[in-house]
Subunit: 418 residues, 2 copies
């Protein structure tokens, strides 16, 4: 069989639970599917648990599984991916922590683990630190602001170890912890020394920094230290084009979201953000579809379109905004379907995880998925929803299984065995 | 989201197969569900394979998986759990074997591997041995009688190894085996010496013991040795309240079954047996529900009710007794449902494994499960049975997945990823 093109369309946080204000329907159940009813009816439908039932996926772990890497076996923790989500480019061996701006008193007792949580000057503080910390024992340090009081801190140097304990005591009223080596290696001992020097240096820099003084004068707790937790050492992921068992040469991820672009880049995708794609509910999704068609015509093997607006609407607890984004997304899918050769194309539409508008956070509920492929046994549904998906013939797929199916239907998967 | 209380109700051995005398219905299919039809209709339904499809679970391995520990990765063998089921309290590092009272001749040739199987004096023999064996090279030995000729033998001391071979030849007409070290460590060599000293000492003690003499005179084979098999070293399980990825502080297991209470205690539960709870078909299940409501009102996070009568009826091959226990159980569930706040509670009702009345033993058939939770997409069934469960929207869950779902719906699970 000749290899087919694969187009994967993800609506971030697509899945949902019954919503009281929608008469116990889900947003997806109220979406008008008429623009894509034909291709849906030719698709197999089912559920996908990005990690496994009962595990709440992050966007990073979900995307690893979506593209064939089991994150249960190969995930260095949130630190490196928080940094990637904040725009960092990490290399294998880089060590990253999740961090908090916090408030300590002169004895280094933690007074507020979040320094008041809303830190208006966070960007300014991070810039100041990055400009003044310098290297520590030959190790380069980069701080990335993520949200509110949260940062990711990357240490880059030779032979760093993730076997070091947190400096964050995870509670208030006690002293900032010294990082300790958790292995007997020289590498762990040195890394702990570097981390402790970092803590000291950050506190010295922030203690007298003008912005903090001003904040203090306004009776807000000053952000005068960074507490670190969850050391994680960036791993090397096999790129799609390096994986012997797959026939993938060129792949592209079309997204406006740093974390998604970062994960896809690690896996060997080119990553592009079309003009007008914002990552929000206002994003121009036809612009994304247009770029997808362009790469399709250029013969790319795997084309990935990621839409963030559904997740944003979910985190905002806004079901009507979620419905609107999904409908806009389906128009983009329809645009695509009209422009590709359905005899030579596999198309999957799904979520990367469920973000119910009533929960406003990722849950472990499986996501609905539809797979169109030449030759697939179609379920004949004319729409896709959480309820249809529970009756779909794909059943309940886990982790990397979905990717395997896409690779098989596109004739890109090697046989396992003789 | 605020964390919700979780109530788990297990009918031991609940699942079944079609029974000819019931017109090819299962006991569960003939149960009157009217007392709980409302909460069932608001639940999601499905199947759970406690370990994985095709693996017959023990009550111990099933309960480990039920509460989030994959026994495929972390199970020391039946020895330690047989001992726990017989009332032992084991510590990590304790070494335990399954054992048989057996009959040997004067050359230590095994004449009857089960010493006639029904050993009326078993309790007396075990007491006599426990009172007279004493320590062996600083290792304390405890024998626990389980059923018929079966015992569990616990060795407690410094640095014991489970890398030792059986003394049980698993056949008759051959000599009792010497335990041999299966690793080159001093620990394995010493443990083998201790085990062999145990065999010798037990035989010396039993050889001339009056009870055995009398038994011999009655032409019954004397129980004059204990054969050991399946060395297992007790592991340390993470307690629920220690697991960083879960928000569980206080949990209670309400059961009259030593094995279940033992496993739950290892996992961090408090274990209680209400007055009137017998572990049999006559057990007072409303008494259990009443205690559950008490702990619920005291703000416990996870409340577990275990009912053994369904399994006892199954092992007896008695379908009508099984039906009667299930109906009694549903009355207890109804009592609970009337007394908890359904907006703030997750309730699961399921089996820990299937024990078909026609098989009279545990099988690998998946067990029916229903999960009620605020916001869950309900299937709208009004009863739960093996047949409904096969059409339920939960699909077929495996191992620790079910626990993950309960933790997620109660907002007690941490996200895996960024």
């Amino acid at each position: 069989m000749k290899e087919l093109s694969v187009i994967v369309v993800v609506a971030d946080g697509l899945g949902d639970r019954p919503v009281p204000s929608l008469g116990m329907k889900t947003p997806l159940e109220l979406v008008d599917f008429s623009s894509v009813a034909d291709v849906v009816s030719k698709s197999a439908v089912g559920l996908w648990d990005p990690i496994q039932p009962g595990i709440r996926p992050g966007s990073d772990t979900a995307h690893l599984a979506l593209f064939g890497v089991n994150p249960l076996n190969n995930y260095p923790g949130r630190g490196p991916f928080e940094a990637i989500g904040a725009g960092a480019t990490l290399k294998p061996g880089d060590l990253a922590f999740r961090g908090n701006f916090a408030t300590v008193n002169s004895d280094l007792i933690v007074v507020d683990r979040r320094a008041g949580r809303k830190i208006l000057e966070a960007k300014q503080l991070v810039e100041y630190l990055n400009g003044n910390i310098g290297e520590i024992d030959g190790v380069k340090v980069e701080i990335y602001h993520t949200t509110e009081h949260r940062v990711a801190v990357v240490f880059r140097g030779e032979d760093l170890s993730d076997a070091v304990s947190d400096t964050d005591p995870h509670t208030e009223g006690v002293r900032v912890l010294e990082a300790a080596p958790l292995a007997s290696s020289e590498s762990a001992a040195r890394t702990a020394r570097v981390v402790n020097a970092f803590t000291k240096r950050v506190h010295e820099l922030l203690r007298d920094y003008l912005v903090n003084t001003r904040k203090s004068e306004r009776d807000l707790p000053p952000a005068n230290i960074v507490l670190l937790r969850g050391a994680g050492k960036m791993v090397r992921y096999p790129k799609l084009q390096e994986r012997r068992e797959l026939k993938i040469e060129r792949s592209v991820a079309i997204s406006a979201t740093a974390l998604v672009k970062g994960v896809c880049t690690l896996l060997g995708f080119e990553a592009v953000t079309p003009e007008g794609a914002t990552g929000g509910v206002d994003s121009d999704l036809i612009a994304k579809a247009r770029v997808a068609v362009d790469y399709y015509r250029r013969g790319y093997d795997l084309i990935y379109i990621h839409v963030k607006g559904t997740d944003s609407a979910s985190h905002d607890g806004n079901p009507s905004a979620k419905i609107a984004v999904i409908e806009k997304l389906l128009k983009a899918v329809s645009y695509l379907v009209d422009r590709v050769d359905l005899e030579k194309t596999v198309i999957a539409v799904l979520g990367d995880h469920t973000t119910p508008v009533m929960v406003r956070d990722h849950t472990s509920d499986p996501v609905p998925v539809m797979i169109y492929a030449p030759g697939i046994m179609a379920d004949g549904f004319t729409k896709l929803s959480e309820r249809e998906a529970r009756r779909g013939s794909l059943g309940r797929l886990r982790n990397t299984e979905l990717f395997g199916i896409l690779m098989d239907y596109s004739s890109r998967a090697e046989k396992f065995g003789a």
